[in-house]
């Protein structure tokens, strides 16, 4: 993370803990679009995403005192809340059942796009991860997408792709290793 992003985060966190409405506004301006986009990608429903975005920021507002900055950045925390809420939603709703029972090619969104100019560089080393992601083979990308956007476990992914569990684990491990390495190299540059 850029040092000034840290300072920016620190200012936001402190103001949120002060219950300053201006800080909530600033947090929304910073993370609202990314949060909305992530939830739309997971739930595939814009109106649901609007409700969940409001829930995400409500949780941010109410739980900011619990936020421990030593465990990670504010952006990571906000996006983890958003992802968990969206996955909980699709798991608890009928849409989850429908999605699981439909063939992959009918249910999945288009693969993750690589459009550097359209992507907010909010997170650490996102550019390095994007570049690493493009270097993954289709199987590696698919397992990451299913885990991140669908919340599937490795065994669920194996079932869904009709591949041996060991093969899925191998794809997953190699994909994550590549991303991890890309982030480390990006940080050292």
């Amino acid at each position: 993370m850029h040092p000034d992003d840290k300072a920016n985060d620190a200012l936001l966190i402190a103001k949120l803990k002060e219950r300053d409405p201006n800080a909530l506004s600033a947090a929304y301006d910073r993370y609202g679009t990314l949060t909305f986009s992530l939830i739309v990608r997971i739930t595939r429903d814009s109106s649901v995403a609007e409700d969940l975005v409001q829930e995400v920021f409500l949780r941010l507002w109410n739980r900011i005192q619990d936020f421990d900055e030593s465990r990670g950045s504010l952006s990571v925390w906000v996006l983890a809340i958003a992802r968990n809420m969206a996955i909980d939603y699709i798991r608890s709703s009928h849409s989850r059942f429908s999605a699981k029972t439909r063939p992959l090619d009918q249910t999945d969104f288009a693969p993750i796009s690589y459009k550097p100019n359209e992507v907010d560089n909010t997170l650490d080393n996102t550019k390095a991860v994007r570049e690493a992601f493009t270097s993954l083979n289709p199987n590696q990308r698919k397992v990451l997408e299913l885990a991140y956007f669908e919340g599937f476990s490795q065994s669920e992914i194996a079932l869904r792709l009709e591949e041996p569990l060991g093969t899925v684990k191998s794809w997953m491990r190699s994909a994550l290793t590549r991303l991890r390495t890309a982030m480390q190299e990006g940080r050292s540059k």
Binding site: A14, P21, L79, L123, A147, S153
Partner: protein, 235 residues
């Protein structure tokens, strides 16, 4: 599982992709506050959540902003909890003036001013070219940071400044390598002794050797009338 075995699984754990027995084992270990694992987990969380940066951005409807902001109360609460020490320097923007005996009739204007100041500070901190200079290592001297951006301006955050006598104020100065100091804002400290000064205009760091703070009569001075209490070299 050993640490090295767990290291391979942190991202999968955060993704929720592990089977329940492995996930439980890691969760139990993490709950024991293992510092080694917590640090690795922090790294892994960056990898996992960076995946969200790969999606195509979609603009939320404009009305969603109002919905989200309706969560918060419409005015700043007067009761304040102690600020976490780690962020004491960073959280001064706009709050400091709230304690300056603002008349009730001026409260709305003052809150608007604070909001604008906070936005200006955030904008400066967000600039790609922002340079950060820390000052004050000794326990007894003023301590803080200066953020300076050619495109955004200058944010001064400080604490442990001396107490002001009645009729006095702090004045912030940009000090060129040659020539006289340039006045860059008046400020005071809040109840916690934290001060902020935001100068939201283009400032080329290369044009200045230092920033400084002096104590001046209320209303400020065109040039320092006292020896600066603080000089922070920018080089």
């Amino acid at each position: 599982m050993t640490h090295s075995e767990m290291e391979e699984l942190y991202e999968l754990y955060l993704l929720g992709a592990l089977e329940s027995d492995q996930a439980s084992e890691i969760a139990d270990h993490v709950h024991q506050q293992c510092s080694y694992c917590l640090e690795r987990l922090k790294e892994s969380s960056r990898v996992v959540e960076s995946l969200s940066g790969l999606i195509e951005l979609k603009q939320p409807p404009p009305e969603l902003r109002a919905r989200v902001l309706s969560i918060a109360p419409t005015e700043i609460k007067k009761s304040r909890s102690p600020w976490p020490a780690a962020f004491a320097l960073a959280c001064a923007a706009s709050v400091a003036l709230a304690f300056w005996g603002i008349g009730q009739q001026n409260r709305v204007e003052e809150l608007n001013r604070q909001r604008n100041e906070l936005r200006s500070a955030l904008a400066i901190l967000s600039q790609a070219d922002t340079k950060t200079v820390s000052f004050g290592q000794a326990q007894t001297e003023p301590q803080g940071r200066v953020f300076i951006s050619h495109n955004g301006g200058v944010v001064f955050l400080g604490n442990r400044l001396p107490e002001l006598a009645s009729g006095k104020t702090f004045e912030f100065w940009l000090v060129p390598a040659k020539g006289t100091p340039q006045a860059a804002g008046l400020f005071k400290t809040n109840a916690q002794g934290i001060a902020v000064n935001v100068l939201a205009k283009s400032v080329n760091p290369a044009d200045y050797a230092a920033v400084a703070v002096s104590i001046e009569p209320v209303g400020g001075s065109p040039q320092p009338t006292s020896k600066p209490i603080l000089i922070v070299p920018l080089g």
